[in-house]
Amino acid sequence: MIQITSSPIATEHVLRAVGDPRCGASVLFLGTTRAETDGQPTETLEYECYEPMARQILSELEAEARRRWPIEQCWVVHRVGAVGIGEASVAIAVSSPHRADAFAAGQWLIDSVKQRVPIWKKEISPDGREQWQHPQSEAERRTRMTSS
């Protein structure tokens, strides 16, 4: 299940939705807005999305995750618009009979979302400065992959 929404992500709903009597393991990942990035304070984040293509790529990622791991339920929810400190910008939940698969699929999905989905983040600092995040290079992109 793929969702792109400008409302706060209903994490409890996502978690309930991946519950499955065939599954012994559910893994939920939440990406949330940090108060600081590299020592710079953040007031809020704003996400822009090329929505039809983002839906398309997210659906492909879900299909690929289902091919690679025996997962039963899979939800990827990405928020767009303004997201305050501590709020979730992305939620990924998978359930699987065995926990190693749920962890692996969840981690692969969030890594892939960050690399491949046409969504962009703007950081707004408390003094009003706005900075679009466009990773500079492969090296920087690899750094980003290990961040948040």
Partner: protein, 81 residues
């Protein structure tokens, strides 16, 4: 032919519009589109060089040829998640 190119994020803000119209010879490729955009918006050349181009909602390589009715998008490096 004239194609419409959707633009996003920093490119959208610098250009001040969410799409641009670009005149190209008919049957032009993504590479030609990139050159034309780079000439129109020299301030965005560095960002353009790091960007992808999508045609009909799929990432496209430089050799892909374009038609007037294709949905074309300039995809700056993504930062979702």
């Amino acid at each position: 032919m004239n194609v419409i190119v959707l633009v996003f994020a920093e490119a959208r803000v610098v250009i001040g519009r969410s799409s641009i119209e670009v005149a190209l010879p008919s049957g032009a490729s993504v590479a030609q589109l990139r050159r034309e955009i780079g000439q129109q918006f020299p301030r965005l050349q560095s960002l353009l060089g790091r960007s992808a181009v999508a045609v009909n909602q799929r990432f496209a390589d430089d050799a892909t040829t374009l038609g007037e009715h294709d949905e074309i998008a300039w995809i700056p490096p993504v930062s979702g998640g």
